[in-house]
C-alpha cells in the first residue's frame, strides 16, 4: 500500500514496494529488447549503402536543381484534378458518413443490437484500408483515371468522418436534448433542435480537417493510376527526369500549404 504506518506516523509513497520493483523491471525489460532489436537490424543492414547515402543524396539533389519551370504548363491540369479528387471525395464521404455516424452513436442509433454493429463495421472496414489500396483495387475495377481516385478518397474518408462524428454525438450534453423532448417534440425535431446544433462545430471541423488530409493523400493516388499529380510524379521518377520531380514536389508543397491555410480560415469562420 502507498500509505504505511511507521512508528505511529503515516508515510506515503506514490507506489508500494512491490509496484516500484515491477516498474523497474519493466524498464529493464524494455531497454533489453531495444538493444537486442538494434543489433538485429544492424546485422541485416548493408552499411556500405548507408554510409554512402549522404553522397547519393547530394548527387540526386544536384540533379534536381534547377527545377524545370517550363514543365509547369503540363502540371496545371493534374493539380486541378488532385484538388477535385480531394474535394469531391470528401463531399461523398460526408454525405455517407453522417447517417452512419447517427446509426453508430449509442444515443441516437435506432437499434443498439442490430443497426449499431453494422454502422461500426462500415466504419472499421473503411478505416482499415488505406486510400492507396482502395485506389489500386478501384483502378482494376473501373479503370485508371480521376473517378477511381474520387471513389478511393471517398471510401477511405467515410470511416474517419463517421468515427469522429459519432464520438461527438455521444459526447453531447443530454440535458439540452431532454429539454427539447419535454416540449413534446418528435424524434426528428429532437435531432434538429437538440442534437444537430451541438455537433455543428465538430462537424465543420471534421469535414475541413478531412479535406485537408485528402489533398495530401490525393497527391499520391496517381502512383497507382488513379489520376492527379501523382501520375506525373510516377512518370518523372521512372524516366529519371529529376528536374521535373523537384518541380512536382514544390507544387505539392505549395498545394498543401494553401489547403492548410484555407482549412484554418474555414474552421476559424465556422467555430
Amino acid at each position: 500500500m502507498p500509505t504505511r504506518d511507521h512508528n505511529g506516523s503515516k508515510i506515503w509513497h506514490l507506489r508500494s514496494t512491490k509496484h516500484q520493483l515491477a516498474v523497474w523491471f519493466g524498464w529493464l525489460l524494455g531497454v533489453a529488447i531495444f538493444v537486442y532489436c538494434w543489433r538485429l537490424i544492424s546485422d541485416k543492414t548493408i552499411w556500405f549503402f548507408v554510409t554512402d547515402a549522404p553522397k547519393q543524396a547530394a548527387d540526386m539533389a544536384s540533379r534536381m536543381v534547377p527545377p524545370k519551370w517550363s514543365y509547369m504548363d503540363v502540371l496545371w491540369g493534374p493539380v486541378w484534378d488532385t484538388i477535385n479528387i480531394a474535394t469531391i471525395g470528401t463531399m461523398i464521404a460526408i454525405v455517407i458518413a453522417v447517417p452512419v455516424a447517427f446509426c453508430a452513436a449509442r444515443n441516437t442509433t435506432p437499434s443498439v443490437h442490430f443497426v449499431r454493429p453494422v454502422a461500426l463495421f462500415i466504419i472499421v472496414a473503411s478505416r482499415s484500408i488505406n486510400s492507396l489500396i482502395w485506389a489500386l483495387m478501384l483502378v482494376t475495377l473501373i479503370g485508371p483515371g480521376v473517378l477511381a481516385g474520387v471513389i478511393a478518397i471517398g471510401l477511405r474518408s467515410i470511416g474517419f468522418c463517421a468515427k469522429l462524428l459519432y464520438e461527438a454525438i455521444e459526447e453531447i450534453d443530454h440535458s439540452q436534448v431532454e429539454a427539447i423532448i419535454a416540449t413534446g417534440a418528435s424524434r426528428g425535431q429532437q435531432l434538429s433542435f437538440g442534437i444537430v446544433p451541438q455537433i455543428m462545430p465538430a462537424f465543420a471541423g471534421i469535414s475541413v480537417f478531412r479535406w485537408d488530409i485528402n489533398i495530401r493523400e490525393s497527391t499520391v493516388l496517381g502512383l497507382v493510376g488513379a489520376g492527379g499529380i501523382g501520375l506525373q510524379l510516377d512518370a518523372s521518377i521512372s524516366t529519371l527526369a529529376w528536374t521535373q520531380v523537384s518541380l512536382i514536389l514544390l507544387v505539392i508543397l505549395a498545394t498543401v500549404i494553401v489547403s492548410e491555410w484555407v482549412s484554418a480560415k474555414i474552421r476559424h469562420a465556422i467555430i
Binding site: T183, G184, P201
Partner: protein, 279 residues
C-alpha cells in the same frame, strides 16, 4: 390538475427512488418540493412527463392518465407540461428566439420547425413572453452569451410558450446567486398566478421555498414525510426530512428575512394569496 397515485420508481441498479408516492396539485397552486439530494425530487417530476419511466402507479393530468400513454399521445400530453431545468438546458448554440420557439415544437410539423417557419402567432407570443421577462432586446443573441439569470428567464419563456397547464420546475435556482434566485422564483410564481398554472418546484433552498410558496411537500428517501404550509415547518419536521441538524438558525433566518424584506413578502403574499384564501 395533477394527481399522482402510488407512483413508484425503481432504477435498473435496484435503487428504489420513489416509494408509492401520492400527491395532488390543484389548478393554480404552486407547490414546493423539498428534500435532501437523492430523495427523489427530480425523479418524481421526471416521472410526471416521463423523461423517466415510472415503474408502477398512475399519473393523471386532468383526466388523462400519463403513465401508460403511447408515444404520440405522450408527445401531445407533454405539450401541456412545461419544464424548467436546473442548468437551464438551453440549446446553447441556438439563438434566444429559437430556444423560446422550441417550446412550440409539439405543435409544429418537422419541416416547418426545421426551416424555422413558425406561425406568426407563435412569434408574437415569443416576443410577448420575452418582453414580460425583460429580454426582448436579446432575441437574436446566442443562448451561450447570456448570464445565468437571463438563461433561466429564457428557459421560463420556453416552458410558458407551450401554453401548459402544469409547470415542472427542477431546481430553478441551484446555479444562481441569492438575488437572482429570488428574482427567478418571484417571476415563476407571478407567472403561475397570472396564468393560473399548477406548478411543482423542486428546490433545496428551504428559505426560498418558504418565502414564495404556500404549500411545501417534504420528500425523504422517496416517500412524502411532510405536506403542509410553510409556517408549520418546525425543526422537528426539518430533522425528519433532512436529518439531525440545528434548524433554529434556518427558521430564525426566515423570520428575519420576512422582517427585512417587506417587499419580498408582499410579492410572495400577492403571488401565493393570503392564508385561508381558496387556491
Amino acid at each position: 390538475m395533477l394527481r399522482i397515485e402510488n407512483l413508484e420508481k425503481r432504477y435498473q441498479t435496484g435503487d428504489l427512488a420513489l416509494k408509492s408516492v401520492n400527491l395532488e396539485v390543484p389548478k393554480g397552486q404552486v407547490m414546493a418540493l423539498i428534500g435532501p439530494s437523492g430523495a427523489g425530487k427530480s425523479t418524481l417530476i421526471r416521472c410526471v412527463n416521463r423523461l423517466v419511466e415510472p415503474t408502477a402507479g398512475k399519473v393523471f393530468l386532468g383526466d388523462l392518465e400519463l403513465a401508460h400513454l403511447g408515444s404520440s399521445a405522450l408527445r401531445r400530453a407533454r405539450t401541456r407540461m412545461g419544464m424548467i431545468f436546473q442548468e437551464y438546458a438551453l440549446v446553447e448554440r441556438l439563438s434566444v428566439m429559437e430556444n423560446v420557439l422550441s417550446g412550440r415544437l409539439g405543435y409544429v410539423g418537422f419541416w416547418r420547425s426545421y426551416l424555422r417557419k413558425f406561425p406568426q402567432s407563435d412569434i408574437d407570443e415569443a416576443f410577448n413572453l420575452l418582453q414580460r421577462v425583460g429580454l426582448d432586446h436579446m432575441a437574436d443573441k446566442r443562448a451561450d452569451e447570456l448570464s445565468g439569470g437571463q438563461r433561466q428567464r429564457v428557459g421560463i419563456c420556453r416552458a410558458l410558450i407551450q401554453n401548459p397547464d402544469l409547470l415542472l420546475v427542477d431546481e430553478p435556482t441551484a446555479s444562481l446567486d441569492p438575488k437572482t434566485s429570488r428574482q427567478i422564483m418571484r417571476l415563476i410564481c407571478e407567472l403561475c398566478e397570472e396564468r393560473q398554472l399548477a406548478a411543482i418546484i423542486n428546490i433545496h433552498d428551504v428559505l426560498l421555498a418558504q418565502m414564495f410558496t404556500r404549500r411545501i411537500v417534504g420528500l425523504q428517501l422517496g416517500a412524502i414525510v411532510y405536506d403542509g404550509p410553510p409556517d408549520q415547518l418546525s425543526p422537528d419536521v426539518l430533522t425528519q426530512i433532512y436529518g439531525e441538524e440545528d434548524w433554529e438558525a434556518t427558521i430564525e433566518a426566515t423570520k428575519d428575512l420576512d422582517e427585512d424584506e417587506a417587499d419580498v413578502l408582499a410579492v410572495a403574499e400577492k403571488v401565493i394569496g393570503r392564508p385561508g384564501a381558496p387556491s
